[in-house]
């Protein structure tokens, strides 16, 4: 499919959607570069699936401009559908058709020539380790296999952009890990991937860039570490001391320590300045004849950051951008 390569794979500008007067998407704006694997992260009901449904032509928007590989979604929906592959949250292939039959039928719907359909179906079954299940009806496959085959079906027509809606939801650890490897592989072959998830580990493990969507608004954007750094200005130290000390003592004798909590046998300290705090902890432990077992910087995790954003947003300040 010929498209102009200087254009973003996905371009969303001021997207708005209301359900019975309640805003589901409130001016969402973002771009996804060609070849990028972007995580669209948010809690349930944030508007992730609504965004994908609008981008794939399943739902009308109220306002905003949307383009996939430079093609306007509203003006040329059928052409956009040829450019994209969509993996919905629920695996929705035909239960009565075999794995291979499903792929062949999808190939027919996407207008692939007969000879190419069979070739691609076999190649994809092999790529997703499903060749031995090619003649089994979809309904008889395990949940993990169904998920893999649903992703495989979205790739039959070699789309430029793949939308993955919660691809690992409900899968066991091993199946989820296998699936993430497939997603990484698909992206490495040049397909742009927009992955919606509420799984923070998945987002930070797979994606170079993350958008955080809460209540229909994008509240943060960047890599996992950038988001954490930008949003959590307070420095954090993890300190393990030998001997009995409580949080109150630490806070009393270390003015740079704003907050302290015990996690197992290690104190997690929120500090104003890392260097001053370390000096104060060393001085404190010398005075008390305590030994410092270890002291290290504790960068907030994406989960910490995400929770903090949610709390800030629930508090009503709308969250930082």
């Amino acid at each position: 499919m010929k498209t102009e390569h200087n254009l973003a794979a996905i371009s969303v500008r001021g997207l708005r959607k209301n359900y019975k007067g309640v805003p589901a998407l409130d001016g969402v704006t973002f771009d996804v570069k060609r070849g990028e694997l972007l995580a669209y992260l948010g809690p349930n009901g944030a508007g992730k699936t609504t965004t994908i449904n609008i981008l794939s032509g399943l739902l009308p928007r109220d306002s905003g401009d949307l383009a996939v590989c430079g093609v306007d979604v509203a003006k040329a929906p059928v052409r956009v559908k040829q450019l994209i592959g969509v993996v919905p949250e629920e695996s929705n292939l035909y239960p009565e058709l075999t794995s291979r039959g499903n792929l062949l039928y999808v190939g027919e719907l996407y207008g692939l020539p007969r000879a190419k359909r069979a070739l691609i179906a076999d190649q994809i079954l092999d790529q997703f380790c499903l060749s031995d299940k090619s003649n089994m009806p979809f309904r008889t496959l395990s949940r993990g296999m169904k998920r893999r085959l649903t992703i495989a079906a979205a790739l039959v027509h070699s789309p430029e952009v793949l939308f993955l809606d919660e691809p690992t939801a409900g899968l066991d650890v091993q199946s989820a890990r296998q699936l993430r490897a497939h997603v990484r592989n698909i992206n490495q072959r040049g397909t742009t991937v927009l992955l919606t998830t509420h799984n923070l580990l998945e987002a930070s493990e797979l994606c170079t860039r993350i958008l955080i969507l809460i209540k229909g608004r994008i509240v943060a954007e960047g890599s996992a570490s950038e988001i954490a750094e930008r949003l959590d200005k307070a420095k954090r130290l993890a300190v393990k001391l030998s001997g009995d000390v409580d949080e109150a003592q630490l806070r009393e004798h270390c003015p740079s320590v704003m907050g302290a909590r015990l996690e197992g046998d290690t104190f997690i300290l929120d500090v104003i300045d890392t260097h001053s705090a370390i000096a104060e902890v060393v001085s404190f432990s010398e005075k008390r004849s305590l030994q410092i077992v270890h002291i290290r910087s504790a960068t907030p995790s994406l989960e910490d950051t995400f929770v903090k954003i949610l709390e800030e947003h629930d508090a009503g300040d709308g969250g930082p951008r």
Binding site: S56, G57, L58, L59, P60, P77, V78, R79, K81, Q82, V86, P88, E90, N92, L93, Y94, P95, E96, L97, Y105, V106, E108, L109, Y110, G111, L112, P113, A153
Partner: protein, 243 residues
Amino acid sequence: MSQLHRALFISRKDIRSYYGKPPLITWALLFPAVLMLAIYVRNPENYLNSAPGIIAMTLLFGNTSMAAIVLTFEKRTGTLQRLLLAPVSSGTIILGKSLSAMLYGIATSLVLTLGLMLLLGMRLASPAPFILGLLLGGGIFSLLGLTAAALVREVFEAMTLMNFIRFPILFISGVFVPIESLPAWLKPIAFISPMTYVVELLRLGASGNSYFASPLIPALISLAFLAAAWKLTVFAFRRQAGQ
């Protein structure tokens, strides 16, 4: 590859997946066959007068039911979403779905017709209007079934909605009583039913007798009903698909 090709693929897949099931075929054939047998037992002299009406009824029930069941089933399993995500227009999906239902209805009606010809000696005076009646009736009734399915979520809701339409249609369309024998107050109502024209085309084909002297009038009016049913189905389908 054209949208027409894709409509044919949708149709072929539906025929393989849904319409070839033995329970469906036996249901579609046994119901009208038993009804025909009852009419034969009651009135062995003139039972063939009722044959076109029974064949039209087979089309009406077979096509509306199957089109509605298939679409609501695919809504529930989520497989309809797969069609909506593919690069096919609403018209292509409707054409594919209605073609398969239409073929099913026509096939069962033809088997019934053959049975009547072979077992009870029915003759086709003029096959062309008979076939035209089956084609136009099959198209109209399939589209009505799809419209009902587009408006609701569950199979039973579609069936309930269809029954509100089908039974009054049976009553007013000269299925059991020819139009000329209908009471005066019912005749004008009969002319607003698409079934009336389908029955008359089949009657013309089977016996050569009809309320209409020429097959042209019922054929053209049925064609207009088909166009209206197409518009209605596309509207209902796009509305439910959010397009």
